[in-house]
């Protein structure tokens, strides 16, 4: 839900959509659009208190619950039978600005509507400085079993460029508290912040590994248009990031994580794989609740209205969706290539055949060692190919269309 929403077709007034049968699994994403401050690099759909107008944070969960009820009716009336939820993910924004009670009510509503499987992964994103021991304890009693901390960096100069307010020294303490509450812990790191040296990044990776968490995501900073950071780079207040340095940082981190026993499973993710994260890469079905959230159900994608007020208002009469997109077969296959090639599982070779990818292109990448063929006839990027994944997909697809 970053940036401007895509264009698409209008949502049907009668809420009738021809949905495919339910997919291999069903997931829920819940978007909590609130933050204490807006970070300079962030173009996510989130709002600080001053930006929100008549929306009140402490009863916003009722809107989310309303959408859950709408989704249940909608799927039923269109003949789609959702499976029990395999994962729930609270993202934002800063979901921990919700009280535990609010989160709990949302989970209960989801459970009542669809059921949540006993081994489901229920994750909440958190800022290291918005949680206390009691909050974490209470959270773990609601069914939440995983927490993902937005650590980003341990270098306070880097955090300052990112406008992050937390004190990196607090991180080991909150991670410890979370573990004690029985939560599985993941941390998000960002590399390639302008001004971050290779040494600074190495220290961040080292300190992240010392936390002993089961999962780490490391994302190269994307300078999104419309952010404060982008403006600063455009006006030359801040130097742009060197792509080769990004590659060095990625390769170093990747090696360190793997040496520490965290298994690589997607371009930017290592460790015990997140069920929810994987659902995105494997084209599973999920419903995204909340303003600006994206859904993918029965072969159709849609996205909700972005502003919390517009979202809330539209729910009073029906769907909060702004637009939808029914994927043609070819787009579906291209997405599979785009998303699955970058995972540990890889993409089925038949997908490439159906797309008409020229075999010599695949052969060339195989011989260059940028992709590899797995014993089950799936194709995936090699360690060397990971950083070139998008370029490889583009090259494979070019000339494949009639």
């Amino acid at each position: 839900m970053a940036g401007k929403l895509p264009d698409g077709d209008p949502w049907p007034v009668d809420n009738k959509l021809a949905l495919n049968d339910s997919g291999k699994s069903f997931h829920a994403y819940v978007h909590i659009p609130f933050c204490e401050v807006r970070c300079g690099y962030c173009d996510f759909n989130t709002y600080t208190a001053s930006e929100i107008g008549p929306i009140r944070r402490d009863d916003f969960h009722t809107s989310l619950i309303r959408e859950i009820e709408f989704s249940k009716t909608f799927m039923k009336s269109n003949g789609y039978k959702p499976l029990q939820l395999a994962s729930v993910f609270f993202g934002g924004g800063t979901p921990t600005l919700f009280s535990v009670g609010q989160i709990s009510e949302v989970i209960t509503s989801l459970r009542n509507a669809f059921g949540i499987s006993t081994d489901a992964e229920i994750t909440v994103e958190a800022n290291p400085d918005t949680v206390s021991a009691s909050y974490l304890d209470d959270l773990s009693k609601t069914g939440v079993n995983r927490i993902s901390f937005g650590v980003q960096s341990f270098d306070s100069d880097v955090l300052k460029v990112l406008d992050r307010t937390h004190d990196p020294k607090r991180v080991p303490e909150v991670v410890e508290l979370a573990k004690r509450s029985g939560l599985r812990v993941s941390v998000d790191l960002i590399f390639g912040t302008p001004g971050e040296s290779l040494d600074s990044w190495k220290r961040t990776v080292g300190q992240a590994l010392e936390l002993g968490v089961e999962h780490i995501s490391a994302y190269a900073l994307i300078v999104e248009s419309g952010t404060k950071l982008e403006r600063a780079i455009r006006s030359k207040e801040i130097a742009p990031v060197d792509e080769d340095l990004l590659a060095d940082k990625y390769e170093w981190a990747s090696q360190m994580f793997e040496d520490a026993g965290l298994l690589w499973y997607e371009i930017s993710n290592w460790g015990n794989p997140s069920v929810h994260n994987r659902s995105y890469w494997s084209s599973s079905d999920w419903w995204g609740y909340g303003p600006g959230a994206h859904s993918h159900v029965g072969g159709t994608r849609w996205w909700n209205r972005k502003h919390p007020l517009a979202y809330k208002t539209s729910l009073e009469t029906g769907s909060p969706a702004q637009a939808l997109e029914i994927l043609p077969e070819r787009a579906r296959l291209e997405e599979r290539l785009l998303l699955e090639l970058r995972t540990i599982d890889g993409v089925e070779n038949t997908v490439l055949k159906q797309l008409g990818v020229q075999p010599e292109k695949v052969a060339s990448y195989l011989s260059q060692g940028l992709v590899e063929l797995l014993p089950n006839q799936k194709l995936r990027v090699t360690k060397r190919g990971r950083l070139l994944a998008d370029g490889i997909v583009l090259e494979l697809l070019s000339g494949s269309e009639a």
Binding site: L246, W303, E335, L388, D390
Partner: protein, 617 residues
């Protein structure tokens, strides 16, 4: 001030003694179109409501660039001392590339208005056209324009003009096309001093074609100047060179829109429509007569325009090749000077080698192809014609560097030009230095007035078509002006420099350059390409070579990161749209072997830094 004529004279029934045919010779920006606008208004043929700036410039490109490409003739009624006259104003182009069009306009006139900017003085181009007019025995009316400008120095430049054409500085009229001051006096003077056309009304009809324009609705519109006899509507006319006969569907005058008439008589200027579809069937310089009462001798024609500059034009998308051919065929209908033939490039696929009158002509044609026919094109670096003799005495005419023969070469001849440069005297040193570096040899130097100098140089055409004019302008703060004419061939120490991407020769980047400049050329083009070609998934060496000897090398390092880290909360639509966008971008790249080369690289690689920077702005 004379009153506007109340009733215009009827075409075909006008006494030649009441006709005045004139053209306006002027440099670009010296205000010719604006002066013409005032004349249209003053004579009442365009009213205030219909008036728009640069009324006579028809093509978008003409209007945007402020230059006139095609000449036109307009009939203006004017009254002097109680007598009504018919004035024919024949517009002329003002750029060096189109000199041949000027000469044919001059042949249709008895007088020329020499229009000079009162703040700038005469320019080389105007001077060249002035000499042409004087050779044609035209009555010259010197006029200083833009006298309303604060920087105008009419006295100074009147003196300069008087020196050039003889007579007194006081004879020079002072006008402002912008405010209209002096324009009616100018029209009076045209009536008084320009001789009336002379011809035999009873002789067989003879009309000189001075322009031929393709109109998508009406076919070819031919502009003629009647010399003898008369042409009538519905008559059978004959082209004297080809003996081809056409029926006259329409005959008339332009005032300022086409108005059919009962014919055209001696001395009159007007248009003919016969329904032919190709301007080459109604050729400029040819003589029109009637089938039944044909003339025996044709009027003196003009030299056919000769292409000076060649460039390969290729569609980015190979499947556009038939569309490109069709577009060129259409453009040729209205532009007889455009020549082209199919050509194949290993790097660029199928395209056409096109010949142009000059760089401006090239730019205008490629712009029209892209704009009017919606094509995406690559134009290779412009080249001139070389005559190459091999040691085995085989001779080759090379219009494309990639055709340069292999094997030992005995001699390479290149086309030369005689260039005339006018400039304030302070810049003479700078200009001489520039001409030196461009391999020029000085012919002479002459003062025009107290502070302006005319320099004449013999230079290789190849040096001029490249960036000479831009450099001349920038080194003289825009004060110098240039004109040149063909001056035969001359042997030169020339070599072909090839460019290799990943060890493979890319024919589109080959160039023929002087041996002493080969190294610099190699260094420049390799480093330029290193900037212009994006990093690929593998390292790309770039080399410049003469034969098998490498003279410069660069390398584009392989790209290391080409992946977006994150997929925000399942916004896969966005990710796929990004992929779609990248796919489109990739289509605009030309594959050269395994290397993707962007369109701009083909043009920018061979232009100078100054020019590339200018484009970037």
């Amino acid at each position: 001030m004379s009153p506007r004529a109340l009733k215009a004279l009827e075409p075909a029934q006008t006494d030649p003694g009441l006709i005045r045919n004139f053209c306006i010779i002027a440099h670009i920006d010296h205000g010719k179109s604006t002066l013409a606008d005032r004349m249209l208004q003053l004579t009442g043929i365009v009213d205030a409501r219909q008036m728009r700036d640069q009324y006579l410039d028809r093509m978008d490109i003409e209007r945007e660039r402020g230059i006139t490409i095609k000449s036109q003739a307009v009939r203006l009624p004017w009254e002097l001392d109680g007598q009504t006259y018919a004035l024919n104003m024949i517009d002329t182009p003002g750029h060096v590339d189109f000199t041949y069009e000027v000469s044919r306009s001059l042949a249709a006139c008895e007088g020329a208005v020499l229009l000079v900017d009162a703040a700038q003085g005469i320019e080389a181009q105007t001077l060249a056209n002035l000499y042409l007019a004087m050779e044609n025995d035209l009555e010259i009316i010197p006029v200083l324009n833009k006298i309303d400008l604060p920087a105008a120095q009419p006295e100074k430049y009147a003196e300069e003009l008087a020196n050039l054409i003889g007579g007194n500085p006081e004879d020079c009229l002072k006008v402002s096309g912008k405010t209209g001051v002096g324009v009616s006096e100018l029209l009076d003077k045209i009536v008084r001093t320009v001789p009336a056309p002379v011809g035999d009304p009873n002789a067989p009809a003879r009309a000189m074609i001075f322009d031929s324009v393709y109109d998508s609705y009406r076919g070819v519109v031919t502009y003629v100047r009647m010399v003898d006899g008369k042409l009538n509507p519905r008559e059978q006319i004959q082209m004297m060179s080809t003996k081809a006969v056409h029926e006259l569907l329409e005959i008339g005058v332009i005032s300022p829109e086409p108005i059919p008439s009962k014919g055209l008589g001696v001395g009159e200027v007007g248009y003919l429509i016969t329904g032919v579809k190709d301007v080459r069937q109604s050729k400029v310089g040819d003589t029109v007569t009637t089938k039944h009462h044909s003339a025996t001798t044709a009027l003196k024609g003009y030299a056919e325009p000769k292409p000076m500059v060649f460039s390969g034009i290729y569609p980015i998308d190979g499947s556009d090749y038939p569309n490109l051919r069709e577009a060129l065929d259409k453009l040729r209908l209205s532009d007889a000077s455009l020549v082209y033939e199919p050509e194949t490039s290993a790097a660029l696929g199928f395209g056409f080698r096109c010949g142009f009158l000059g760089l401006l002509h090239l730019e205008i044609i490629t712009e029209r192809l892209e704009r009017e026919f919606n094509l995406s094109l690559i134009a290779t670096s412009p080249s001139v014609v070389y005559k190459v003799t091999r040691e085995d005495n085989n001779e080759f005419v090379v219009t494309n560097p990639s055709e340069f023969p292999e094997g030992k070469v005995k001699e390479v001849q290149e086309p030369m030009v005689k260039a005339t440069i006018l400039s304030p005297k302070d810049y003479v040193g700078t200009i001489m230095e520039l001409c030196q570096t461009k391999r020029g040899s000085m012919l002479d130097m002459q003062y025009l007035g107290e502070d302006r100098v005319q320099l004449r140089y013999r230079l290789p055409l190849a040096e001029i078509v490249f960036d000479f004019f831009d450099q001349l302008k920038s080194k003289t703060q825009g004060y110098a002006s240039l004109d040149y004419e063909d001056d035969g061939f001359q042997a030169g120490d020339l070599v072909k420099v090839d460019l290799l991407l990943q060890g493979e020769k890319v024919d589109a980047f080959s160039a023929i350059v002087h041996r002493e400049k080969a190294y610099n050329h190699g260094v420049r083009i390799t480093s330029k390409l290193r900037e212009l070609i994006p990093r690929q998934q593998f390292e790309v060496p770039i080399q410049a070579a003469i034969g098998s000897r490498i003279i410069a090398r660069e390398s584009i390092r392989a790209i290391r990161k080409d992946v977006l880290a994150k997929c925000y909360g399942g916004d896969i639509t966005r990710k796929r749209k990004l992929l779609e966008k990248q796919k489109e971008g990739k289509k605009r790249m030309k594959m050269v072997g395994r290397v993707e080369v962007p369109q701009e690289a083909f043009i920018a690689a061979l232009s100078t830094d100054e020019k590339a920077e200018k484009k970037a702005k």
